[in-house]
Every structure is written in structure tokens, then in C-alpha cells.
Subunit: 352 residues, 4 copies
Amino acid sequence: MTNRFGKIFTFTSWGESHGNKIGCVIDGAPAQIKLTESDIQYYLDQRRPGQKLTSPRNEADKVTIESGVFNGITTGAPISLIIENNNHQTKDYSDLKDVFRPGHADFTYYHKYGIWDYRGGGRASARETAMRVAAGAIARKILPNNIKIDTIIEQIGSLKAGNIDWEFAKNNIMRCPDKESLHSWQEYLEQIKESGDSVGAILQVRIQNVPIGLGSPVYNKLDANIASAIMSINAVKAVEIGDGFLLGKSYGSASNDQISIDDDKIRFHSNSSGGILGGISNGDDIIVRFAVKPTSSINKPQHTINTNYEAKTIQITGRHDPCVALRAAPVAEAMLACVLADHYLLNKNSKI
Amino acid sequence: MTNRFGKIFTFTSWGESHGNKIGCVIDGAPAQIKLTESDIQYYLDQRRPGQKLTSPRNEADKVTIESGVFNGITTGAPISLIIENNNHQTKDYSDLKDVFRPGHADFTYYHKYGIWDYRGGGRASARETAMRVAAGAIARKILPNNIKIDTIIEQIGSLKAGNIDWEFAKNNIMRCPDKESLHSWQEYLEQIKESGDSVGAILQVRIQNVPIGLGSPVYNKLDANIASAIMSINAVKAVEIGDGFLLGKSYGSASNDQISIDDDKIRFHSNSSGGILGGISNGDDIIVRFAVKPTSSINKPQHTINTNYEAKTIQITGRHDPCVALRAAPVAEAMLACVLADHYLLNKNSKI
Amino acid sequence: MTNRFGKIFTFTSWGESHGNKIGCVIDGAPAQIKLTESDIQYYLDQRRPGQKLTSPRNEADKVTIESGVFNGITTGAPISLIIENNNHQTKDYSDLKDVFRPGHADFTYYHKYGIWDYRGGGRASARETAMRVAAGAIARKILPNNIKIDTIIEQIGSLKAGNIDWEFAKNNIMRCPDKESLHSWQEYLEQIKESGDSVGAILQVRIQNVPIGLGSPVYNKLDANIASAIMSINAVKAVEIGDGFLLGKSYGSASNDQISIDDDKIRFHSNSSGGILGGISNGDDIIVRFAVKPTSSINKPQHTINTNYEAKTIQITGRHDPCVALRAAPVAEAMLACVLADHYLLNKNSKI
Amino acid sequence: MTNRFGKIFTFTSWGESHGNKIGCVIDGAPAQIKLTESDIQYYLDQRRPGQKLTSPRNEADKVTIESGVFNGITTGAPISLIIENNNHQTKDYSDLKDVFRPGHADFTYYHKYGIWDYRGGGRASARETAMRVAAGAIARKILPNNIKIDTIIEQIGSLKAGNIDWEFAKNNIMRCPDKESLHSWQEYLEQIKESGDSVGAILQVRIQNVPIGLGSPVYNKLDANIASAIMSINAVKAVEIGDGFLLGKSYGSASNDQISIDDDKIRFHSNSSGGILGGISNGDDIIVRFAVKPTSSINKPQHTINTNYEAKTIQITGRHDPCVALRAAPVAEAMLACVLADHYLLNKNSKI
């Protein structure tokens, strides 16, 4: 049950970083959706490594639909998606087989299962997130067309975007929302990469045109499901909705989103709640912010131990992104699409 | 399914703020646990209003065990817990029946369900959290005895604790960890209460002596389940594990928790991961921080609309906590106990 | 999870035979359903003991709705139903506390849990079925009005109904479909009761006007869910759909339900499939047959052992139905209503 | 959710009869199980067509393990199994694309989803059962070694086995338990095949050495889960546990399985309950009987309609088993292994 996501619209993913294939099975997509492999490939290409500032491991990430679609239309049967892992180099990882890389899941997997697939992180690798993106592409087809999901990187290590320009962010690979900052961000990342270090980041996702009424009370609040979905992404360690932690410093008189009617349309005076009240979408933009920790693999000596509990020093060479934020953006968007699609279907039964 | 929490150790809660009773059914507690009503009452008393700085609604919150326990021992059957609502005053809420209180769930419940129980928030009321605390009391009995869960309030509105003294926090009702600050916090809250306003807060929970290996990979990561559990609590809008958002500004060389062996014991040099690596507990303290927004009910005029979409001004009188943090603390602890108990049971099947 | 039934429309029941109360929580009923206690009481009264041929334990079985209904309409919140156990006589059972009654769950509960509530069967008692009936009453409100669920007893011990008259069965307490047989059935049951023995029975449920399309492929086939629902009822040991076991002796040329169009309406030439093809309702009557074993409590000496594994002889006195079929009928109908309501809601998402 | 089976030990299957591949994902298998492809292939070979009395479609059914196993040992990660469909002949089915085959799921799939994959039954094909068998092979590895699962065919159409010899049944492809009957059964099936007709059958599965305590009360009774698992198999329309329908004609004095102690071992005098009391295994043999309907595809003219609701006559040529019982046997055994493995893992948490 741990590799399945969702309640009605569900996906179950499988595959390790260095296996032959990875894949997922979407169970619960309604029939009658037009679906082609290129619909999914479009989003996969957004998270694909092989770009200058992401890992040089050049995967094609070519997805195939193996079931559930007939004559270009979903049939209600489970949709099996598979990506071949063409380019994994098992040799890179052979000397890591009994030593726990700091910041990685090696230590905990070993203790929980008594075994771990040490080749590139195995199941704990970011490789798995490709299937989240693939599932998200199908989730988007369930949602109303006019929903828009966009992501900016607000901060990368010590650099914070000054001006927030959502349009500008769409047109640069770093999703930097600040025209003035883009060049320095690129240089900063190059520098970190050369030094062998890595850096964290803070991202913001905005979802526009969300219908009112998505989310379920109490333990499946939309915010709770979003928090879970985002926190389940590799390297994420913090998530907030709307004004988030700032609300802890605020007053009710300032943070309650008051309501007006303007030209027969409902208008909230503010959006401190991030579009969610009582766990249910209120029709305003959903605002989600989250932090990714610095990439755990760094080319610097670190103290650790091995499976015999002997002290070791480890320095991880090989190809790694200096910052996972660039690839995390499409993954977060996909997970949010899955959460919304699930609640969109569930909501059909809110009233008789 | 929306009112059920957990996978193996589950509870389903029911009841509205102003109904006759509230309750929950725990399904999945193992047999052979010694359990009395006073075991549960102990934790319920921690969140009970009737204290100076919380709502003056003086509920006894007296729990009864209606099933699942025989001769003081759990039988494996579902455990039904019920609390009578003795002291609800329906009159207080009669003029709110068609107007949406800003910051509350009225607006979204009405749009989702076409009806809402306007008496004191109905199902969306904090009344429901009593059952989380009750379930948490049973969850603690499943966990190893030596697990310790403590909570401090780090910040309340504009006041931030300087010094962090966990022992001091245990001995004051405000869970204030800073001896120097306590008095000013109390005065601050009184002031806010008198002004009719409310204030948010930031809390930290620390869980000590967690076994290694709790949590499941990928979509049921321990951090994801914690995020969901905490974010599902009324008024919570932000959650982070370990260094959380600070990791977004950090470097891998600083934030990877390096490992040593000291006197044959594993020691992490730091705990930026908050005790969770790859979604699985690593044996270090679990650190969870979260923010609660200011109480939505304030005694100040606010713009809103009614169910006919007419502009209205609303000013909410009656009894309300100026800050929900004091009551949120035992609720958060209970939810974390439930998450850990669930994974504690699940973990029995990690290896053959 | 073991005390919860259903996927979208779910209920979780609790309570032992001799506790103070029993109850259930319905989670997943849509808002906007008109619901009163008498809607539920109507069906509870059908299974109530206190009638001549059922157990003389005269329970009122008075249900109260404790949550989820506001001004007579469901709100989407969980619906808590409670029945007080007024008339349990604990004394009857005190000498059974360490001896396993043959045919009962005592032996298995004791070995599984190391403890069992020996008072009247505890959780394994038929008392629990009252909550199935209560949940079923709400399920019926979700289904289209014109669905009709009827049950006949086809066979009771060695007596088999000759003629099947569904209307006649509705008007006698034994649900006997054969006018000629009714009197002899009553005498037969009285005789068995006097002899201290008990007897099994075979029942048939017919559901008319089922919409086409209910049920889900593969592992949640409508027949699979029905089989599970019926087999979960106390004393049931066999279930079949349509021609059931007879199909094992049949030929495809005889048992395929051929299809015609008559006056623009679809007509199946036969209904050997019992209204379900490929796990999905085909619009024809759903036909379910099942067998209940004889009541396990008999007033005759039986060999058994106690918890010390010593040989014992047991003879069970007290009030027991000679045949559970009369009370099983409304329980089976309720379970089938729950299965259909669940699939009725699920089916809203079969197509986009 | 409809293509997933199980609670803790789960599998999700995918793939249509005439797609490129079929597969399943096992989620919840513990780590540390030795597992090779040949462990699974052994059982797949038992249900493989290509034998004289089963469909001549000669599939190799060669399974590959794509994830979850590292160095021959399960890692706790999801296990992905894939079989390539080498030998499907799409042409056979082209004239069936708008006409509903009687007895098949075409009619109901079309009405539920508005589309169906008419090539060989699509998702409703028996092709899917290969993955049940594959999952069952892994389930067996979780269960204690000494558990034995055997199946006999008791009746095939009008022919019923006289003598029941379990050993004899193991050594003939028809699982015929009666030496005297085997030859006539073979001739009978040949005859039916030549006539273009098909025939049903009744099977019995016996599971020996089941631990006491498997199964959960009330809605996940072991009998309920077994009934669901068996009824979910294509063509199954009836299932009974122990004496099943015969119990409806029996008396408590005869059908209660009385208990003795013989040489310090518990002995039930009879096994009318089929090894399950109160939904929990009692340690005696589990006995499950079920019926499969005759193969729906027959080479005889039948009345039907098409998607335009026009009357049609259909005669289905091509390769089809005259009786599905031979292939149903390993499928039923696999499903039962999955049910038992799931409860075996769940049972680890019955007591603290």
C-alpha cells in the first residue's frame, strides 16, 4: 500500500534507479479520456535530466502506454505506463554497497529491510518521480481545462528572488521569477557544482481556476492531502499553504480573508488561507510553498559508517544535480494535479 | 473515508460541536492492551477548555469506553469512545445561520454540501479534536514506553521565545519554553482577548526514543504521514520536519547529517533531517514544527456575504480562545502518536 | 479496518452483545438525503427478536441518530447511530467463560486474541447485525427509489418450499413463499425448538430494477462484493449468484443468457447469470442465494474443551432462535443495499 | 482501486487480452524473501494453454521480474511482474467489434464505460488470471512452508466423480479425483469441444496445515475474503465453505464441529465449518468449493444485439476451452494463497 497514491484516482509506481524499467499503474481513471503517449511525454520532458544545470545522465525517459487505452481513448481499465532505463551505469555505484551515504536513505532502508539496492539509491532515487509526473499528466486530463498550475523558485540557497514575475519564470529553465536575478542564479549554481557542494531551494506553486468544493473534511482536508503529496517528494522537508508560517505571527483581524460581492462575483479581500478553508477549496488560487533540502550526494569528504558499524569517510563523485529544485517543480505540479483530480472525482458524490 | 485516520491502527470520528455527543471508533488496536477510561481522560484534560486563557466554555469532556475492552484489557474488537456535550448553548449561534464567517469553513461547506450545521462550526469545529486526543491516548499504549512526546510554543504572534527550555515548558500552561517570556506572553494574550482580536502561533514537537525503521517509502513516508496528520488539525497551515524551510537556504556540506560511532553507538552529528531519512525514522529525535493561524472568530467587524450573496458585516461575540496553540499542542502530540503507532504495527511486516 | 464495510459509502460498527450500547458510523453518505430515525427503525423492527419463533430476548432496538443530520437532512458529516442494549442478562453466560462452545467463535477468538468476551458471543454475536440493518436503511436512500429487494426462505432444514410465491412470502413472518408449506414450517420450527436442537436454511434474495453498470471489473466485481457481504453475515457458509452451482452442471448453449430487442427494450432470454455479467449489473434482476448453518447454541450435550485444554461436556440453555434465517433476511437485504449504494456512487466516475 | 487485491499484501494487475503485455505490481511483500522468476513460472505453467484440452493459443507466458528483487532477495520495494503477449491474433476478433457476445462482459462494459476493448475480451478476458497466479506464487513464499493447497474437479457437466482420491487428482491434467472416471471425462470434453458447446464444473480446494487465527472479525472474515477472492475469478458464480449449502438442510446437533483432546492435540470431530469459525481459521483443513459456468464463447448460433440495439445472430469460432475448470484450479489456489498471506501478515498485529 505504500507505493500507491490516491483514493479514487490512484497510481501505483514501481522500479528502482538502476533496474531495467520503471513504471506505474493508474487505477481509477474514468473511461472516455483522449490520451496519447505524447500527452504524457510533454510533462516528462520537463523533468528530464540532460540539461546544463541538471544531472548529465541523459535519459530519454520515453514512456509507453501498455494498457487501458484503446483507439486513443481510456477504457476504464488500469493504465500501465513504462519507461525503459537506457542509460544507467551500474559501475558508478559499486563501491557504495556497504557504506551509508549521509543524507540518503541507505541507513534507514538497511535497518528497516536488512537489505538495500545501493545502485543509485534504488527505490529511494529521484528516478521514481518520473512516474509521478506521468500520472500527473493523466490527472490533468480529468480536471477542468482551465485549471492552470505554475511554479516559481523563490529562493535558491542564499539567493532570493526580488521581484516575482510569473510570466518570466515560465520562460526560463530555472523558473526564476526575477529577471534581474536569473544570470546570478545560473552563475551561483555553476559555482556550487564546481565546488562539489549542493544547495537547497524554496518553491511556490500557484493553481488558478480551482472549482469551489474540492477537499474533504477532517482527515482528508485538501491541505492535508497536499501536504502529504508534497512532503512525499524526495528532498522535501517543509510545506505551507497560503501565508503558512507567517500566520503564526499574525492577527485574526489581518489574516481572515474577508469576503465581498463585486459585480455579482465573490471576491476575497486577501488569500492568506491559500485558497483552502476548512480543508475545502474556496475558489481562490491555491498557493503552496515548499522547501527542498540540498542534494545529498556531494563531492566532499563526509563522515559516515558502514554496515559493520565502522567509521568511514565518503566522497561521492559522479553526476548529480547541484540543486533538485529544477526537477522538483514538475513533480510537485504533477502531485498537486493528482490530489485535485482525486478530489474532483470524489466531489461528484458530495450531494445526492 | 474522510473521517477515518490511519492504515492499520485507525480511528473514525463523528459528532458536531453542538450535537448531543461526539465520539470515535478505534479499529485496529491489538488485543491485550491494558486500558481504562482514566488513561484517556488524562490527555483529554490537557486540551480541555475552562482554563483562563482558553475558551470559557466549561466542558467536562468525560470520556466513556463503550466497547472493545473487557475486564480492563482490549479484546481486538473496535473501541468506541463517547463524550457527552453537556454545555453547548445553541442560542449563541442562531444569528449566524445564513452568513459566512470569514476564515471559517462555512463558505466552503455550504458550497460543497448545500447545507452546513452553523451551530458552533458543526463538524468543522475544534470540538472534533477531542477525539483525536482520545485516539492518541490509545496509540501511545501501542508504542514502546520510552517514547516521549513534548511540545513547546516557539512563537505567539509577535513574541518569540528566546531561550528554549523544554523542562520549563512542561510546567506552564502556555508551554512557553522561555522563563523570561512567560509573563509577557500571558499579558499579551489577555490584551488580545480584550481587544477582540486573535493571534497565531508556531509550535515545535519533539519525539524522543523513536525506533529506527518507522515509515514506508515513497507515498507513505513518515514525513508525508506526519505532514498530513498535522495539517489536518484545525487552523494549521504550515508544517516542517527538522530544519524545514531553512534547508532551502542551506548547503549539502552543512545539512547532511554525518554519522559516527561513539562507544559503539550510532551518533548523527546534526539533525537537520528531523530524525527522518528517505521517509523512515533514523532513531534520532523527530522534530516537527507547525503554525496555527489566528482563531477565525474575532469580536471585530468584518466584511462578508450571506447565502443570498448579499454583502454583510459580521462581528462575532461569544467565547473563543484568542490563540488555539494551547489546545493544539495535545492534539498534535496525539496525531503524531497515531502516526507512529500505525507505522509501528506496519513495520512488523517489513521483513519476513 | 476489519470492522469497516464499503469503499465510498462506508460504515464502521462497534459493540458487543452484552455491552451497554452498540453502534455504527456511516462515513460517505452524500449530503441532502432526508433522514429520520424512523426511516432506520422501520428496518430494525424487521429483525427484532421478541417474536414467537425468534429469540425471546425482548430488545426494543431503538436507534438514535447522534450526528450527521441537521434539520432532518444529511450534511455529508459522518452519521453516528447508537442502540442501547437494555435487556441483556449477564448472568446467563457466567459459566461459559472458559469453555469453547462448539460451532461458535470462542475457540478462534481465544486463540487469535488471547481473550474473548464470553458474554453472549461478545463481538461475534448476531447482535452486531443490527448495525448492518441500520446502515442498509441509509444505503437504500442513496439508491434509486424503484429498486426493490425481497427475500424468501426456500428451504428450512428438511422442508423445501414447493411453489414460489414472492407476494405470499412478504405477508408472513417466516418469509415462506409456499402457502401450502407455511403451517408445517411453523410446526417444524416449534418442534426443533422444543427438542433443543436447531436447523439451517437456504434463502433467496431478488433485487429488481437495478441500473445497468454497477460493479467494477476484476477484483471488485459486483458478484465478488456481494459474495463477501453475504458471507460476512454470521452463520452464512455458502453463496451463489443466478444459477450458481447448477452452472457447474450446465452447457454454454443452455446457460448463456441470449439477448433480444422487444419493443425497443432489451430482453435477456434467461437469467442464469443472476443479473451480473463480467462483474457488472446488466439490468436484469440480481439473484442471490445463500445458506445459513443451524444456530450453534443448542440445548443438547456436546463434546468440547476448555481454555486449559481439558475435555468438557457442554449443554447450552437460555434463549436462542432455532433457526437464524428469519433474522438473516433483513440483514442480507441491508448488506446488498450497502453494496449497491457503494457501487452506485462509484459508478458516477466510470466515464468522464 | 478495482484492480487491486488485498490489504497488506496487495497486487494491482493490468493489461488486456490482446495488448502487448500484461503485468502486476505486488506492493506489501516483506523484504528478505528469496525469489526467482522460476518460482513464479512454475505456477504459471500450470495454467498455461497449449495443452490438448485447453485453448490451443500457445502462449509461453514467460514472466520477468522488473523490480523489487535484488541479488535474488526481495527488498520490500514493489515487485513488478510482466508477461509479453507473444501470440495474440488480432484478426480473429475484428467482426465482434459492435456485437455483444452472450454470457460475456461486452454488454455491461459497453454500457458502463461507453467503450470496450473487443479484442478477445480485453480486460475481462481470462488472460488477466495469469497475474493472479503470479501473485499467488509470491504469496506462497510468505506462508509457512508446510501449508498445502490442492484442488480437485468434483463434477464436470453431467459427470460427477464417484471416488475422491486427492493423490490421483494430482497426477492427471484434469485434476480428476476418480480413477474410474478419468477416461470418460476426457472423452466427454472432446465431444463437447467438437460439438462447439462448452460445459461448467464444480471444484474443491483443500488447504492443509493452516495456522489457527487467520481472518478478522465481522466484515473481513476469512470466509468473506475467500468468497470474494474466488467469486472474482472469471466464470465463477458460486462458492461455499465446508459443508456450504448442505448446512441449510442440517441440524445443529449434526453440524457443530465438536472438540476433543487426543494425545494433547485438539481434534474436531467433523469439519462442517470448513476450517473457519467466526471468520477465523481454527486449524482444521480449509475447504472451499466453487462452480464455474460453461465457457461463454461457443461455436453455435446465439441471439444477441449490437451497439445499435439491432437483433443479430452470433456464432463464435476460434480457439476456446470447452471448460475453464482446468485453468481455474491454479487461479483459485493462487487467490487463496493471496488471501491467506494477507491475513498471515495482518495477524502479526492481533495481540500487542
